[in-house]
């Protein structure tokens, strides 16, 4: 037998000046199940709360309705209050008679009538409320950071500095990501390697960081605070514990393949470090190209290696499970394959039409040309360079609909570098818009124009060869004239897109991606570093095109979130989640695919079914750690076996019914 107490708040005069609160209380008193009704000036105040607690004791109330401001305002306040009483904090309903009544209607009958209706709905609902208990789940105090670019490095260091264990996982043989490929960074023009390599070394030296390179995530189980991740460590064929990193093997290796790191501008051996300052500073054998591993003929590296047993051709990939409490995805970006998109730019058949990252290697002091800008076709120093922006960006037909954000700035940087390094060089930058929304960015653009870069407003329409050099044909839209620029080198500032494999990885963690494949943040403004999956965070360009400052800021933000989580020993989960009535569940599985959190699984149970004492049947199970309580499954359930605690079908229906009693 429910004994409901209804408490109507005046909210000073906020409510009472519009709604006849006395009348509401009187009407409430007549409602079925209500045994006590009262009004008061400020329900949320200390005396107001005390009044409710007293009434509970005095009248033996077992359910409470508070007619006041929005539940989004004080529901938690009143729940906390109920913890001091004998009543379960979920046996509470709030009737929103301020934001959705007193504040939006003129004083009078109608507003009061509405308030009474809202109270009646709340009363009806609360009568069907049931005590709920939030559960506590333990938290594994270790974080996994996937991706060893600058975002992953920064996040790992921040978490480790806060005293938590971190595993930094990178699939390449070295951490560093895109940033170490760059020569200089805008707008300060400081050397990219000089500021990123010390951080890489910090990672390898930090006692709280375990660095896993040449490794991948193979599988993920679990939920916030309790992930179990299967890690696949690819065979390196070089015993990392005893290798001294002397480099003799790399010098002697007879097999040469195109260097991915140098974007095809140079070769590397089959046993290699990604780049000289690689961390860890020890080589791995690329099994796809190693002669020994492919045909069993060679073995030179093992012969020249001064450390006995260091090279091990028999090494195998290893998979193992590790537990984590939180995960940061920092998988970064890659540049689009413009060759496959832009036939009008030569589709990659002109060696002197290169993308921005290739140019970075070309201009990089530690790159294949030692920083001398030499065009790939004949090694000559280019005198006229055309930079084309928005290649693949802002192009919904052939490329990506979005702006890649960093290109305007690095185009300006490239222009600056060319004009700085090549005496008498001419640089033409074809652009649609110049976007410089960042600290000191516009100033940098100004400087580039002062350096002598000529900005041409118009998108290059096509690039062709005239037998001697490349001709970039486009319109100078400000002159309203077609222009042809004969260029020695063309740099295409191409769009960023999600990194290879980021989609599958995101899927493993159950997070979702947007239409362009970037990982979806939980809220674009207010939860920018969280995914929709509890405990899985994101950092850097995996969420969308980003420059280095933004990436680092986001990495630290994600780290702060992880630290906040790992600082707790255990965490409370919301009890308002889906629950399954096993006796009704037919195991049809309709609910399973509809769950955005993959919280529902089908399981086989044994139970007594009629005359069978040990019958096997399939039912759906809800994982309380994963379920977020959206209730989508309840609608899909054909037998009505799934219901949402706190928002049961019966509770909502009774609210509907209450309106027309």
């Amino acid at each position: 037998m429910s004994k409901i107490g209804v408490f109507v708040c005046h909210c000073g005069t906020n409510i009472s000046s519009v709604v006849d609160v006395y009348k509401v209380a009187e009407a409430a008193a007549q409602m079925p199940g209500v045994s006590y009704a009262a009004e008061y000036k400020y329900m949320c105040s200390e005396p107001g709360q005390q009044m409710i607690l007293d009434a509970i004791k005095e009248h033996g109330l077992n359910r409470i309705v508070i007619a006041a401001c929005s539940p989004r305002m004080h529901e938690t306040t009143f729940r906390k209050m109920l913890k001091k009483s004998k009543i379960n904090e979920y046996l509470l309903e709030i009737a929103n008679i301020r934001e959705q009544d007193a504040w939006v209607h003129p004083p009078g009958e109608e507003a009061t009538e509405k308030a009474i209706d809202l109270v009646r709905m709340a009363v009806a609902k609360v009568a069907k409320n049931e005590p709920l208990k939030s559960s506590l789940i333990p938290i594994t105090k270790k974080a996994l950071v996937v991706g060893g670019g600058i975002a992953g490095i920064q996040a790992a260091l921040d978490i480790a500095d806060a005293g938590h264990e971190v595993v930094l996982l990178e699939r390449e043989p070295s951490i560093g990501g895109r940033m170490v490929m760059l020569d200089k960074t805008f707008p300060t023009l400081d050397c990219s390697a000089c500021i990123s390599t010390p951080k890489m070394v910090d990672v390898s030296a930090h006692p709280n960081i375990k660095l896993l390179t040449y490794a991948e995530v193979a599988a993920v189980k679990g939920y916030i605070g309790n992930f179990t991740v299967t890690i696949r460590q690819k065979a390196k064929y070089v015993n990392q514990d005893i290798c001294t990193g002397c480099g003799i093997c790399e010098d002697k290796c007879p097999k040469k393949v195109t260097s991915e790191f140098n974007k095809g501008l140079s070769d590397r051996p089959a046993i290699y470090k990604l780049f000289p300052q690689a961390v860890p500073a020890k080589p791995v054998i690329d099994r796809e190209t190693c002669l020994m591993l492919q045909n069993g003929k060679c073995g030179i590296c093992a012969k020249v290696c001064p450390v006995e047993g260091c090279i091990d051709y028999e090494a195998k990939d290893v998979e193992y499970d590790e537990d984590f409490g939180a995960v940061i995805l920092a998988t970064g970006y890659k540049l689009v394959d413009w060759g496959g998109m832009y036939d009008e730019y030569g589709a990659g058949r002109y060696p002197d039409v290169i993308d921005g990252l290739t140019f970075e290697r070309l201009v990089n002091a530690s790159g294949p040309t030692e920083g001398h800008i030499q065009r790939p076709s004949d090694g000559k120093e280019p005198k006229t360079v055309v930079i084309v922006k928005c290649v693949g960006s802002r192009d919904p037909k052939k490329g990506k609909p979005y702006c890649s954000r960093a290109c305007c700035m690095y185009a300006a940087k490239h222009a600056h570098q060319i004009l700085d390094k090549i005496h008498g060089a001419r640089v033409f930058i074809f652009y649609i818009d110049v976007r410089t929304p960042g600290k000191n960015y516009e100033e940098f653009y100004d400087q580039t124009r002062k350096d002598g870069a000529v900005y041409v407003r118009g998108r290059v329409s096509r690039i062709y060869s005239d037998g001697e050099g490349l001709v970039c044909q486009g319109e100078d839209t400000l002159l309203n004239k077609q222009v042809r620029v004969k260029a020695d080198l063309v740099v295409l500032e191409t769009a960023m897109e999600p990194n290879e494999g980021a989609g599958e990885l995101t899927g493993l963690f159950g997070a979702s991606r947007d239409v362009n494949g970037w990982i979806q943040e939980a809220h674009p403004k207010l939860r920018p570093v969280e995914t929709q999956v509890g405990g899985v965070f994101l950092a850097g360009a995996c969420q969308g095109p980003k420059d280095i400052p933004d990436t680092v800021a986001q990495a630290s933000a994600a780290a702060a979130k992880v630290i906040g989580l790992l600082n707790q020993d255990e965490m409370e989960t919301s009890p308002m989640i889906a629950a399954i009535d096993e006796s009704k569940c037919s195991g049809c599985g309709a609910c399973e695919p509809i769950c955005p959190y993959r919280a529902i699984t089908l399981e086989t149970i044994r139970s007594r079914e009629g005359r069978f004492t040990n019958a096997e049947r399939v039912i759906a199970k809800v994982n309380a750690g994963l379920c977020q309580g959206c209730g989508a499954c309840t609608v899909a359930c054909r037998t009505g076996a799934i219901d949402l605690l706190g928002f049961r079908n019966a509770q909502i229906l009774t609210e509907v019914d209450a309106l027309w009693q």
Binding site: E344, C390, R394, D395, P396, K397, K398, G399, I432, R457, G458, R459, V460, S461, R462, Q473, G474, E475, D476, T477, N480, Q482, V483
Partner: protein, 186 residues
């Protein structure tokens, strides 16, 4: 109908939307005829955006566009400028706005077709050069082509040229035909 409404109708027929164009200039940049156009493809779209139908109708662009479709092919938003140009050209013709040389050629061409059913180079080029007051245009090639009998006065007419002339007349008066009351469109 106001010019605004006419423009919108032309845009709808051409399936081109003003808002799709962000004026990057890739169309004009690659247009082979751009140098000769007083309104380049991007300009046509710009005029459409600001509602300047008259500038489009009075431009030489609508007569010079060769219909090579390089602009649409490269356009990031697939804006079909040639389709809009084509609709604008029909509208200009309806209003009697012609580029002189184009008017002469096209009318001579159709007259030629009505006569023979096929294109008779001597008649076409000859009549055009006379009517367009360009007697010497391409004259340097005539001796060669005549001597090799590539062109000549022998008519190459089709058998049903009378029928074809009627067909052409039906096509030319299609607007009237289509709106005739007894016709029921499918």
């Amino acid at each position: 109908m106001t010019d605004q409404e006419t423009l919108q109708e032309l845009m709808d027929k051409a399936d081109v939307r003003q808002y799709d164009c962000y004026q990057c200039g890739k169309c004009s940049g690659g247009c082979p005829m751009a140098d000769a156009m007083d309104l380049k493809p991007r300009g046509v779209m710009r005029c459409a955006q600001v509602g300047s139908l008259n500038r489009i109708l009075n431009s030489n662009t609508i007569w010079l566009c060769t219909g090579c479709y390089a602009c649409v092919d490269r356009c990031p938003h697939d804006v079909n400028v040639p389709a809009l140009i084509e609709e604008a050209r029909y509208e200009a013709a309806r209003r009697g706005i012609w580029r002189r040389d184009s008017e002469v050629l096209n009318k001579v061409f159709v007259a030629n077709l009505k006569m023979f059913g096929r294109n008779h180079e001597m008649v076409l080029a000859g009549l055009y050069n006379v009517l367009a007051l360009k007697p010497a245009q391409d004259a340097q090639s005539v001796p060669h082509m005549m001597s090799k009998k590539l062109i000549g006065i022998r008519p190459h007419s089709i058998k049903e040229n009378g029928e074809l002339a009627k067909l052409i007349e039906r096509a030319e008066s299609w607007d009237k035909l289509a709106s005739a009351p007894q016709e029921v469109k499918k």
